[in-house]
């Protein structure tokens, strides 16, 4: 199995362990990743909040690059990137005039053949049974709250992935890895996304509710598949504790880290050492 790979900017920086664990887990599963040559930023929230045309043109350059490279499937692990890539693809598909305008702006053609996958979608198409067969170490100590957040499943008409209110794909993957998954209420609630730096009050309030509910429902870990979710739950956890005068230490894993761990990677190979909240206790 071979797919194109669009890491996106976060995976080169604050979400480096997402990149490390996606590559490692895919290697262990025998999925070959071919990185998009000279990919650029998708524009993220900054573009779609301020300029519609720019918010289509920036991801469109990457879709066109994928097509030029002969890739019909592209893995985009970041939920925000994959959402923007799919949105650009759909809008150009539905609006011939827009597609023409965007092609002129990016000075490349795009015929609309690229299918964008998130990491959960990639593992589902790899197959849960095939994944199960690759497990070397069951995640027996884990009681995981699978946190999907917003952009993997919403809006459903655009992303067409899983159930927007009660998604199951991550739960299925973690169950296959031998973890217990908990039933909880904040699966698809918002963590404040890209407001990490520009509106800390808002982000810390939302993220606090998410972590608290996971704990209340018996989870000892949270699993995510988005760099923004990870930053807001892991990196910001000490600021959240300070704001609410609490002392929580809830480890937050990328689902790809858990796949890599269960399939035989060491914690460092899976990127666990890059978390802000210590995440080793459950592994030892």
């Amino acid at each position: 199995m071979k797919v194109g790979y669009y890491p996106g900017c976060s995976l080169e920086g604050t979400a480096r362990e997402f990149d490390i664990s996606v590559r490692k887990s895919c290697g262990l599963l025998g999925i070959e990743l071919e990185e998009l040559d000279d990919w650029s930023c998708c524009g993220a929230t900054a573009a779609h909040n301020t300029d519609h045309l720019l918010s289509i043109a920036l991801p469109a350059r990457n879709l066109a690059l994928a097509e030029r490279q002969g890739l019909d499937q592209v893995l985009s692990p970041c939920a925000a990137c994959s959402n923007r890539l799919i949105t650009a693809h759909r809008e150009m598909e539905e609006n011939e005039e827009l597609r023409g305008a965007v092609e002129a702006i990016i000075e490349m053609s795009y015929s609309g053949k690229v299918r964008v996958l998130n990491y959960l979608g990639l593992i589902l198409s790899f197959g849960i049974d095939n994944l199960r067969a690759k497990v070397r170490r069951e995640l027996a100590n884990f009681k995981v709250a699978c946190y999907y957040g917003c952009l993997l499943v919403r809006p459903p008409k655009i992303v067409e992935f899983d159930d927007p209110e009660d998604p199951q794909s991550m739960d299925k993957i973690l169950t296959a890895l031998g973890a217990e998954v908990v039933d909880w209420e904040y699966k698809v609630e918002c963590c404040g996304g890209g407001f990490t730096i520009s509106d800390p009050t808002l982000v810390e309030t939302l993220a606090h509710d998410i972590i608290r509910n996971a704990e209340t429902e018996g989870a000892n870990a949270i699993s995510v598949s988005c760099p923004l979710c990870h930053a807001n739950l892991d990196m910001k956890q000490s600021a959240i504790n300070a704001r609410f005068h609490e002392k929580r230490n809830m480890p937050v894993y990328y689902v790809s880290e858990l796949v890599a761990l269960a399939c035989g990677a060491t914690p460092e190979e899976a990127g666990i050492n890059k978390h802000f909240v210590d995440s080793y206790a459950l592994i030892r």
Partner: protein
Amino acid sequence: MTAKIEQASIESLAREVELLGGGRVADCYQCGKCSAGCPVVSFMDMLPHQVVRYIQLGLRDEVLTSRTIWVCASCQTCTTRCPKEFDIAELMDVLRALSYREGKVSVSQKDKLTFHRAFLRSVEHHGRIFELGMIQNFKMKTAAKQAIRDPRVLMQDAMMGKGMLFKNKLRLMPDTIKGKSQVKGIFDRVRELEKAEVKK
């Protein structure tokens, strides 16, 4: 609050929003489901369904200067649940772009615009985000205000920055791509097109 409602402004605002891709506000029958599910209503000065109502009533400045349109985190819950399949999150994007272009961004929400601009400037220069440079750029513009508002945040951000450097999560130099002039060209051509559009 009192506001003067005129027939002409009602029609023109609804049409303007629709032309910009914000959907047909007349479709909304004010059930309030969007506001009921919105995770950030407690930070808003106008509920999401009220934003739609204000547009139906042609109250342009009230909407464009509201905190609400910039508090919206684009989580898409409203759009997902609307029984009329009205895309409220997309409407918010349209309103933010208008509010930005016309200099009507609520003072309380200016940090978000400052952040977006720092982000896009970084992309325009390097082709990809250079996180350290972007955050420095943002901090230089907002630190003085933040120091008055809540100095603890500055300290926490500094600690986060230190942690990220320590964990080798922040690049010290931008990761400039071969096609950075292509990306710059995208920004230039979008600006040109939009300038021509405004003139029309």
